[in-house]
């Protein structure tokens, strides 16, 4: 099947809340190592699509494939363990925990991902090995050597990850004490800690000044190469998207109104109409 070449594909996804159709018959795909943008005016249903992909909502109709595997209706934690991580539009860090702990929470699922591994094993016995079971909870309570080793590996990895986004010096600070821009970076780092192959970024540049968003743009490019990721990015700021994305999907009122390269989309009459009167489109 052609599906398997794409890392993610949405097949005619519809999401209804009561009488309201937030996403209507939406299809898309992302190839390996691609950076795809998802844009549209406020309330167009972009975040709903993220929630559908990550399993927070179950779509009313349609199917979602990740690496050729049907993941429709899977629980959010399983979807994450299989390899999709995300950030939130309104930053949702664990603000009472330290920066380092935030990252380490992202790594916790290494201990408990047996169900996800077995799910993958069931899909393709050759490609994915069967998961082995270890009583990690008891190891954690009794502080067995293999748990302590795991803990130190997690700590080291978390430090390395913080180094990559330049937050190492804040490691022991509470997450809520970080400045706004750094919190955005921390949220991305936390998502990376779950070891994803696809990263969903929900308005990463929101509330940033041009210089900060330029910086962010560069670090996103770097992250993509370092972790060999595919990225799906929601953005309100059109310029930001035009600079970074290879392909763009445009949503309005839950419907796909345009898609293609940044230039093609920019000149699409429907897109201009949808954005007309929206201050951010200049």
């Amino acid at each position: 099947m052609k599906m398997s070449e794409n890392i993610l594909s949405l097949d005619k996804v519809t999401m209804k809340f009561g009488g309201l159709t937030a996403v209507d018959d939406f299809s898309m795909f992302i190839d390996k190592g691609e950076l795809v943008g998802l844009i549209g005016p406020n309330g167009a249903g972009k975040t709903t699509i993220f929630n559908v992909i990550t399993g927070v909502y179950k779509p009313t109709f349609g199917r979602i494939f990740f690496k050729g595997i049907d993941i429709t209706g899977l629980k959010p934690h399983l979807i994450n363990q299989i390899g999709i991580a995300r950030t939130f539009q309104n930053i949702r860090l664990f603000s009472d925990m330290t920066v380092l702990e935030n990252i380490m929470v992202g790594q916790h699922s290494y201990l408990t991902n047996r169900k996800a591994l077995n799910f993958l094993h069931k899909q393709d016995t050759k490609k994915y090995p069967k998961a082995s079971w270890k009583p990690w909870l008891f190891s954690a309570i009794f502080k067995t050597p293999d748990y302590m080793k795991m803990e130190s590996i997690m700590r080291k990895n978390a430090f390395d990850l913080l180094g990559k986004v330049g937050l190492q010096k804040y490691a022991d600070l509470k997450a809520s004490a970080l400045p706004y821009g750094q919190q955005r970076k921390l949220e991305i780092a936390r998502a990376l800690a779950t070891n994803p192959t696809l990263l969903l970024l929900d308005e990463p540049a929101a509330g940033m000044n041009p210089q900060e968003s330029q910086e962010l743009l560069e670090s996103i490019r770097k992250i993509m190469e370092d972790f060999s990721l595919a990225i799906l990015l929601i953005e309100h700021d059109m310029k930001f998207v035009m600079n970074i994305c290879e392909r763009i999907y445009v949503l309005d009122y839950g419907k796909l109104i345009s898609r293609g390269s940044p230039e093609a989309v920019q000149n699409d009459k429907k897109v201009i109409e949808a954005y007309l009167g929206d201050k951010i489109y200049v």
Partner: protein, 353 residues
């Protein structure tokens, strides 16, 4: 100052505890009354620490603690009661087999009490944990009441309203404080592990925790079961401390849940050391406030005691803490040698100035 490592803290604590042991073992400073109070503190401590694992660290609000305590208390009491005693007490309806022919030691009975409680925690948690917030609180309260009503009516197992009498008073200071130490070590170790981080993350933002790959339901369940086990243990210790059990709402009913809630709220929701401080506070204050409930002769003027006064004052303290000092004594943090040292240093520093 450099941060003390977990190991250093642990070693200091063990040295401290050994010191206390020698101090206590070689002296007989406590009379019978005080040794009973000190035992009770440890029992309350176990109740509070196990409760704070759910209500504080995991951040789900259960009101079912008394139900698990009651299950542990009844299970272990039925296991340690002598066979003759059981035949004597169960005169409305004889005790069912095999409970009527078993008698075992205190330690296995306590562990079995904890395991049975943990099993009920699983049974109750499985449906209830699908609910959130207030709904979860009410569902657990309802389950605890169902447990109490069943205890009240199942004459063949629990002796119903007649209750259990003549339970041996096995719970000594050593048993109680020993179990408290085990509770603190296990729940403390859990709190400061990867699982503990996951629990704290969930309590802050379950949705974010979920998309970080944490199975929120099973982690909450795990906390609920561990909490249920130690609640059962505390119930067993309580049964063998008080020596009679009955299912009135004011003894093993919702009132007990409120008492434990007072302890953990005053100590700070989510702090293990805070829970113990809260337990000490509750035990002392409720004992000390008893003077208001007995007749006092004040310079020849006889002041009649007012029953219920201690609970009234405690409830006022509880509400004041909630309104003005919502974090309690410790907040979510723990008492450590470092913080004691810092407090001490600050005190000296102030004197120098």
């Amino acid at each position: 100052m450099k941060k003390l490592s977990f190991k250093v803290n642990l070693i200091l604590t063990i040295v401290f505890l050994i010191g206390i042991y020698f101090f206590l073992a070689n002296s007989n400073i406590f009379g019978d009354y005080w040794s009973r109070i000190i035992t009770l503190i440890a029992i309350y401590g176990i109740m509070a620490v196990s409760y704070t694992l759910v209500n504080g660290i995991t951040g789900i609000f259960s009101l079912g603690q008394a139900g698990f305590i009651a299950i542990g208390a009844y299970t272990s009491a039925l296991l340690t009661l002598s066979i003759q005693q059981k035949e004597m007490s169960f005169f409305i309806q004889p005790l069912i087999w095999p409970l009527n022919s078993i008698q075992m030691g205190f330690l296995p009975a306590t562990i079995i009490g904890g395991v049975v409680s943990a099993f009920f925690a699983f049974l109750i948690g499985y449906p209830s944990l699908r609910l959130t917030g207030d709904y979860f609180a009410i569902a657990t309260l309802a389950f605890a009441e169902i447990i109490r009503i069943v205890i009240q009516n199942a004459y063949g197992i629990t002796n119903g309203t007649l209750g259990l009498k003549g339970i041996s008073s096995y719970t000594t200071v050593w048993w109680a404080w020993g179990w408290l130490l085990v509770t603190v070590l296990v729940i403390g170790s859990l709190k400061f592990s990867s699982y503990g981080r996951a629990l704290r993350a969930m309590s802050e933002d379950p949705v974010a925790a979920r998309v970080m790959g944490i199975n929120v339901f099973w982690h909450q369940m795990m906390a609920f079961i561990v909490s249920g086990f130690f609640a059962g243990v505390s119930g067993s210790l309580y049964a063998h401390w008080i020596t009679t059990l009955d299912p009135r709402p004011t003894s093993l009913g919702v009132m007990l849940t409120f008492y434990v809630l007072i302890m953990i709220v005053i100590g700070g929701l989510g702090s293990i050391s805070g829970a113990i401080i809260g337990a000490i506070f509750f035990a002392f204050v409720s004992q000390w406030l008893r003077i208001f409930e007995s007749n006092v002769n004040f310079f020849g003027l006889a002041i009649p005691g007012v029953p219920g006064m201690s609970m009234l004052i405690l409830s006022v303290i509880f509400i004041v803490v909630m309104i003005f000092w919502r974090k309690g004594l410790m907040g979510k943090s723990e008492l450590s040698w470092q913080s004691i040292y810092a407090l001490f240093k600050k005190g000296i520093g102030d004197e120098n100035v």
